[in-house]
Structure formats: C-alpha cells, structure tokens
Amino acid sequence: MNAAAQHPDIHGFVTLHIPSQYGYLRVLRQSVMDTCARAGLSEFDAAQLEMAVDEACANIIEHSYGRSKDASIKGDAGIHVNLFQRKDQVVVEMYDHGQGFDFEEHESVDPEEYMDRGQERGLGMFIIRKFVDDVAYQRGTPKGNCLKLVKHIH
C-alpha cells in the first residue's frame, strides 16, 4: 500500500487501477462520488470533482495514450487513481504511462470562446482548471505522468 495512506492526516485512502478505455470511466466516477459522500462534500461540489476527473481521464485515454506514434506507449499500463481525504480536502491523483503533455502550455478554452470558435477544441482543460480548487501536473515521474486535483470541503 502507498506510504501516504499511513499518514495520520489522510483518511479513507482508496486506490483504483483501470484499463485505459472509456468503458471504465463509470466505475471511476462512482468511486469519486463515494469518496466525496464520505468526506461530506455537497452534491454540487461532488459533481464538479466527478466531472473534472472524468474529463481528465478521457483526455488520458484520448491524448496521452491514444495519440502516441511511439509503439512502445500503449494503453496496457492503464490509469492508476488514488482517492483520499486530507484534512478539509478531497484529493484525486491520476497516473498514466502515456506520452503526457505540457500542461501549462495548453491554455484552456472557456465556454464563450468555445462557442465562438465553433467548438473546434474541447472544454476539458477549462473544466479541470475551474471545477477544482487546486491542480498540479507532473510529466514523467517514476510512476508516470501525474495529475492531482484538489477540492476543498466547505
């Protein structure tokens, strides 16, 4: 088990490992909602975190694994997700072994821009940034690319 799970500030450490396929997003969303309910997050806050996680993992499947020209990068390694509560925060960490990307370089398109531009690019990055309180991305850690989302419990 992850060393973090033993930390006294950390509650209810759940880990989930799923194949890199859209059909597994549902069970991931259910796990997120379960963690949020346990942490006492409001229904709306929980739904926002649920959506940020879903959009982030859909991006991993589509872009990090899906767009690779390097044949050694395949979806077999799946997506590893840590879900836990730390003090007044719900934290979701997602790891993938795909090609990753430069997170800061990809500005998010906001919904108005999205409408004006005729929806040629998605809202994923906007939702990931706006629906949570903290975001951190690290490319190529020993455990893969890591996206960490944090939502405060009010």
Partner: protein, 116 residues
C-alpha cells in the same frame, strides 16, 4: 449498473428523446448517431427528457448545443427538460443555460414548440 439508453418517440410535430444513465465518452458515439439520424430525417424539433440522466460529459453537451444551433436555422430547436439539480448546476457553471432552452416538464417544452 445502468448502461446509457437513448429512446426516441416520434410524434407528428416533434421527437421526444429520453436519456437514461450516463452520457460519457463511452456512450458518446450512440448519442452522435441518434443526433445524426434526426438531422438526416429533417427532424429539427426535439425535446430531450433528461430525467434518468445521471452524468453528462462536456463533449456530449457540446453535441447538444451543436444540434440546437443547426435546428434553429431550420426553425427547430432542442429543448432540455427534467434536468437533475446536479446536472443543471454543471450546465449553469458552463454558461450553457443561456444557450439551451431548459424546461421542467415535457409538456411545457411541447407547449413552447406549439406556440411557435
């Protein structure tokens, strides 16, 4: 464990489309094919019953908006009804409640279509 189901009821003047389950990246192709079919058959007036909808991705919302826009060019529309508070909150945060017409019941949306 509900799979997403999309049921279409064709009425004389419009279509009622009922969603059940989650409209996510997995079920997205199914949504797209229903919308394409409606467009190809010149069915531009659609009431989308979201009573059973428990999740919707941004891509699915985008597809609904795209459909509504093109339908309006043909004097049609796509009106959403019976959104759960959870999903309405997401739609609102994205500002899409200003673009999509939202009603609380199928009858209300039907009446709006009938009023022209």
């Amino acid at each position: 464990m509900r799979e997403c189901t999309i049921k279409r009821e064709e009425r004389e003047q419009m279509d009622i489309v009922r969603l059940d389950g989650a409209l996510d990246s997995y079920s997205f192709p199914r949504l797209e094919s229903v919308l394409t079919e409606l467009r190809e058959n010149q069915r531009h007036r659609v009431v989308l019953d979201c009573k059973g909808l428990d999740y919707i991705s941004s891509a699915a919302l985008g597809a609904l908006i795209g459909f509504a826009r093109r339908a309006r060019e043909q004097q049609g529309d796509m009106k959403l009804v019976k959104l759960s508070p959870k999903i309405y909150n997401i739609v609102e945060l994205l500002g899409f409640h200003k673009i999509l017409e939202i009603h609380s019941s199928v009858d209300e949306a039907v009446a709006r279509f009938e009023a022209g």
